[in-house]
Amino acid sequence: MAKKISILIVDDEESVRDSLYNWFIEDGYQVECAENAKKALAILESGNYDIILADIKMPGMDGLEMLKRIKFLRKDSIVIIMTAFATVDTAVQALKDGAFDYVTKPFDPDDLSHLIRNASKQIALMDENETLKNQVVSLENVSDLIGQSEAMKKVLREIESVAQSSASVIITGESGTGKELVARAIHSNSSRKFFPMISVHCGALTESLLESELFGHEKGAFTGAVYNRKGRFEMADSGTIFLDEIATISPKMQVELLRVLESKSFVRVGGNKEITSDFRVICATNRDLKTMVEKGIFREDLFYRLNVVNINVPPLRERIEDIPLLVDHFIKKYCLSMNRPIVNIDAIALKRLEEFPFPGNIRELENMVERAIVVGNGKKISIKDLPLGKEIVNTTFESLDDLEKNHIFQILNKYEWNISVSAKALKIDRVTLYNKIKKYGLKPAR
């Protein structure tokens, strides 16, 4: 059912107020009257009205001044200015000050009906816009972060509590656990959600490229800089900047970054004009930054600047109960993108997936499901469609450390965590293997 539109009539002439009141009441609107601007503002402070129909000439505060004050109270208010003394100047001024429309008294009954119908349409559009925005946000949340395990619920609670603030966040977790999705969820639930979230993968760029990428550059700043280019900090104005693989940035960039975070201003490469930008920083890493600080590899002051809030995303092996939900989500995602009918997964295959350690976490599971849909018979995913027995080549690891960790983890699982046999297979001694297990925080799967 459509919402009942409320109208506030503000006019010093009683006969005008009565006429409009009777007219709108017969149309089924909720109507209130005020004989001057002061009373109207008092009414508006205690209640919300969809449309305000105000006379321009009133003793005391006039309609134009009242319009400014109403717009200060509620920016989206629809104010229609009426007057018996129409001049182009006042009409233009009213519209400049944010009036929805301007009418000269007396007007045709049809004009009045049109005016209110148009205003009602505008209100309906604004309401619809608000509803859709909220729906988009909730859709993003639902589709992005899948999981009902306690570990994921904890992450969701942390996202919710941190989203509304502007505090810097470090998201930690193994490769492939969905750190960027957590960053997106924080951004989508924050007041910055209608501004961009700009992602920068620090590990993929050299120092000079990263500098140019983050701060932008002026034309001629270096060979190949043929145009002025905005940096990522500038693009993230009013929004969020997401710095992935933050642990990989060089000491020089750490200093630069600290300065920008403290002043929220910077200069483009090759430029001299200071640019300010209002952004929120969210970082992600799969390394232990605290240990890096202790070893002097990562600046302590930058660490504390970034680490206002820490969210740790659990590895998949610690949230096995989410695997069926994730599998179902990826099946739908890939079947739809490949324009195929939605397939099922048989119980044995699902059980094997639940037992698999997934060193590459959700990214690995996603790749596995995608592969199964491509090579499968199009009806049901079975064990033969899943490369569980073979070594999975995961090309998404970016660092040698990730690759080494993954490999050691697979060998340990293959030999059921028999350290001597695993060390022999890896051609390293047992002490070295113990050190590597400790370094990467490896644990046997449940």
């Binding site: 006969s15 005008v16 009777n22 017969e26 007396p106 007007f107 045709d108 009954p109």
Partner: protein, 180 residues
């Protein structure tokens, strides 16, 4: 509260037989006794020389004070051009869920718009306008149904688009108001 009667009071001259037709249609629509009577008012007191029209607000108040009763609905019928301060003209108006209303035949005739006179169309428009204003006195607001008599009409030809009956929703609302 059950509606006991409707009184249509004519001020001025109307075509012979017109009021009788309207009376029958109103009686059929609301299923209560309807009576007509002649009223006397010095309309000059309500004339606005600046606008060359008659003040609908003041006329409505006059009908309410001098002719309305608690036992039924009273509608003043006029043959003059009505206005309210904010609008250039009105066909009629009434107190919503009140005791009285007014309606004028003045702007309903084809001749006002340079068309050939048509008594049948005029009578049809007038009965719809009378039933419409009485509907307001019975608590009915404007209806979105394009053929319902409670549909708002701002031009005479708009009135031709609707019927002289309440739609099922307005009928149900009317009965609901009667049973309160």
């Amino acid at each position: 509260m059950n509606l006991e009667s409707i009184t249509l009071i004519s001020f001025g001259i109307f075509e012979k037989g017109l009021l009788e037709t309207v009376l029958n249609d109103v009686e059929n629509e609301f299923q209560v006794p309807v009576r007509t009577q002649k009223g006397h008012l010095d309309l000059g007191e309500f004339y606005d020389s600046g606008r060359k029209q008659y003040d609908g607000n003041r006329l409505l108040k006059e009908i309410e004070i001098r002719f309305a009763s608690d036992t039924g609905k009273t509608l003043g019928l006029f043959n003059v051009d009505l206005f309210i301060p904010i609008l250039t003209y009105i066909f009629g108006q009434a107190f919503l869920n009140g005791r009285s209303g007014i309606a004028s035949i003045y702007r309903l005739s084809n001749e006002r718009y340079g068309l050939k006179a048509n008594e049948q169309i005029l009578a049809d428009r007038f009965r719809k306008e009378v039933i419409h204003e009485l509907g307001h006195t019975m608590g009915l607001i404007h209806c979105q149904n394009p053929i319902c008599v409670m549909r708002s009409s701002t031009y005479a030809e708009d009135i031709d688009q609707k019927e002289h009956h309440l739609c099922s929703k307005c009928r149900a609302d009317f009965e609901h108001h009667q049973n309160i």
